[in-house]
């Protein structure tokens, strides 16, 4: 009995104090004006939509806030692009490992996949920067072979950003795909092949429909992580690129406007969830299947 009480207490502590209440507090905070601590709870402290309004209309000038809305849109679209890119990169290898590889080979490949990911996000971004910087190895090669005379600004034109995000979340796409395809009975593929289906039809009609929940969960994870990522845009984005989480970051650490930061964070979270739900509905996958 005591053990049961301890278990319930642990889970209650987690779900309440580490998950539910903090979220709730963040939402509550976002409906408050930005006040110094002394005036909090005073007459100026009231429920307001100011912070949300500021996302659409710049507070002081009263003009439409294209900067922030644009950053939001860019973050979402770039994340979708990265998700699609990662799916394209990972699908063939996931299929190969799940259906064609021998167990021994698969184990080696798995280890090779995991080992680079013990190196943290920042250092991985750093390594890409060494490659992509104007003095970096790739520009050295391009200029050395005479393909270009002036270095290409990979970081400025956001190539670095896309590569960095894709690189950061390859595994997150790979494992759900692998798990989903792995449980597909090989005979189904053989049967389709016997019936004379060309290879692309086998994938379109047999493998992908079967692996749909896995594809959905991989895509959801990559999308959510990209949209919420901080390191890759900070270190690989161009100087003019504004990533939405960077704005949130600045509200906390540069402007010390927590309520507005909280509001923006909430906008990001809701925006992402709505998009994911819409996509899941579009492709007819239930949420339950996805998070299995």
């Amino acid at each position: 009995m005591l053990l049961g009480i301890i278990f319930i207490a642990l889970v209650a502590f987690w779900t309440l104090f580490l998950v539910a209440l903090p979220y709730l507090y963040m939402v509550v905070e976002s409906f408050h004006p930005n006040l110094p601590p002394i005036r909090r709870g005073g007459p100026d402290d009231f429920v307001t939509l100011t912070q949300y309004k500021s996302f659409f209309v710049t507070p002081n000038s009263g003009t439409v806030n294209w900067t922030h809305m644009g950053a939001f849109g860019f973050s979402i679209i770039a994340s979708i692009a990265v998700t699609a890119l990662n799916f394209a990169i990972c699908y063939p290898l996931a299929y190969y490992m799940a259906q064609a590889g021998t167990p021994q080979k698969v184990r080696t490949l798995m280890l090779c996949l995991i080992v680079p990911y013990w190196v943290n996000e920042i250092l991985r971004a750093f390594s890409l920067r060494l490659l992509l910087a104007s003095k970096g190895l790739i520009n050295q090669i391009l200029m050395g072979t005479g393909i270009t005379d002036v270095p290409i600004d990979f970081l400025g034109n956001n190539t670095g950003l896309y590569v960095g995000l894709s690189y950061a979340y390859l595994l997150v796409m790979m494992f759900p795909l692998y798990n989903a395809i792995e449980s597909l009975d090989r005979n189904q593929i053989e049967a389709a092949r016997d019936l004379g289906a060309p290879w692309w039809r086998i994938h379109k009609d047999v493998v992908i429909p079967y692996a749909k929940p896995g594809i959905a969960s991989g895509c959801t994870m990559v999308f959510m992580l990209s949209a919420g990522s901080l390191a890759a845009p900070q270190f690989l984005g161009g100087p003019r690129t504004l990533w939405f989480t960077a704005i949130v970051y600045d509200f906390f650490f540069q402007n010390f406007n927590w309520p507005r930061g909280a509001a923006y964070a909430f906008i990001l979270l809701t925006g992402c969830i709505i998009l994911v739900m819409a996509m899941l509905r579009l492709f007819k996958v239930s949420l339950g299947e996805t998070i299995k």
């Binding site: 278990f7 987690w14 209440l21 507090y25 390594s127 949209a227 900070q234 979270l269």
Partner: protein
């Protein structure tokens, strides 16, 4: 036949490209760690040096960050592993209908962008800890907030790890122990926990590592303290030094070591299992002969 060969070649080439993408940047970064120029460069390789490792060792902030990262990692593991374990056991007891909701709540930290977890943790716990000045002085610290914030999603990882193993657990073993007179706590300590031991080890390792390399949540929750990753981020933002490459080399070295140990342990276990199976086969044969 030739088309099959071409296909095979293409698959091989694709796998090569994939792992080139995965390892290439790390390899280049590794080379820069041993090259003398101040700007991390792989080519031309001017002279071999270990100076950057010495510089790294003397980097005060980084060493302090490392110490904090270890403390945080241990703290997160101390919270998340028991919580994840308790949550997985409760998952098994819960009624079918409530299970979906429970699952969604417990897994939601994995789908929430890390920045949002960081922000909400700080906002909520600041208020909780500010109840008295004493508690604020004692607990409102970056290290503690980071442990709480990271524990929120690391617990969800642990839950998934435990659940994966629990689904293969034969419930009849629990009943057998009960039937032999064990109390419920005895069933947990004697039967369930030993069965879950490999999962506990995985949860500890994965929990510690994901805490160690976390950036998004940490950067908000750490306040004025620092971890290895936030120090790194600061360094990368300010510029580039081969000392960072040296750090990456050390981390890769450790993870390779870990991977090798894991592989050796796996092989040993396999050998033991094979031996047991051979013995069982011999026993089986003897038995058949004894009856005949």
């Amino acid at each position: 036949m030739t088309s099959k060969l071409i296909m095979k070649g293409m698959v091989g080439f694709y796998i090569f490209l994939f792992f080139f993408y995965l390892f290439g940047p790390l390899l280049v970064m590794g080379i820069t760690a041993f090259n003398t120029p101040n700007y991390p460069q792989a080519y031309p390789f001017e002279a071999f040096t270990l100076d950057w490792f010495v510089k790294l060792w003397n980097h005060r902030a980084m060493m302090e960050g490392l110490r904090n990262s270890v403390i945080i990692g241990l703290g997160v593991v101390a919270i998340s592993v028991p919580v994840g374990l308790a949550a997985s056991i409760i998952m098994n007891q819960i009624y079918h209908r409530a299970r979906g909701l429970y699952y969604l709540v417990t897994i939601s930290p994995l789908l929430t962008p890390g920045v949002i977890i960081g922000i909400s943790t700080v906002i909520f716990w600041k208020d909780v800890m500010s109840i008295t000045d004493v508690t604020k002085g004692l607990f409102y610290k970056g290290i503690i907030l980071t442990i709480l914030g990271q524990a929120s999603f690391v617990s969800a990882y642990c839950l998934l790890i435990f659940m994966a193993r629990l689904t293969r657990f034969d419930r009849a073993q629990e009943e057998a122990a009960l039937d032999l007179g064990a109390s419920y706590p005895q069933v947990f300590w004697h039967i369930l926990l030993p069965y879950l031991k490999p999962a506990v080890v995985s949860a500890v390792v994965i929990g510690f590592l994901s805490s160690f390399e976390n950036y998004n949540t940490t950067t908000f929750a750490i306040l004025a303290d620092k971890t290895l990753v936030t120090v790194l981020a600061g360094e990368v933002r300010q510029g580039t030094t081969p000392a960072l490459s040296a750090l990456a080399v050390i981390i890769i070295g450790f993870s390779l070591l870990g991977a090798i140990c894991y592989e050796v342990a796996k092989r040993r276990e396999q050998i033991r299992a094979d031996r047991a199976q051979r013995q069982a086969q011999i026993a089986e044969r003897n038995e058949v002969e004894a009856i005949a």
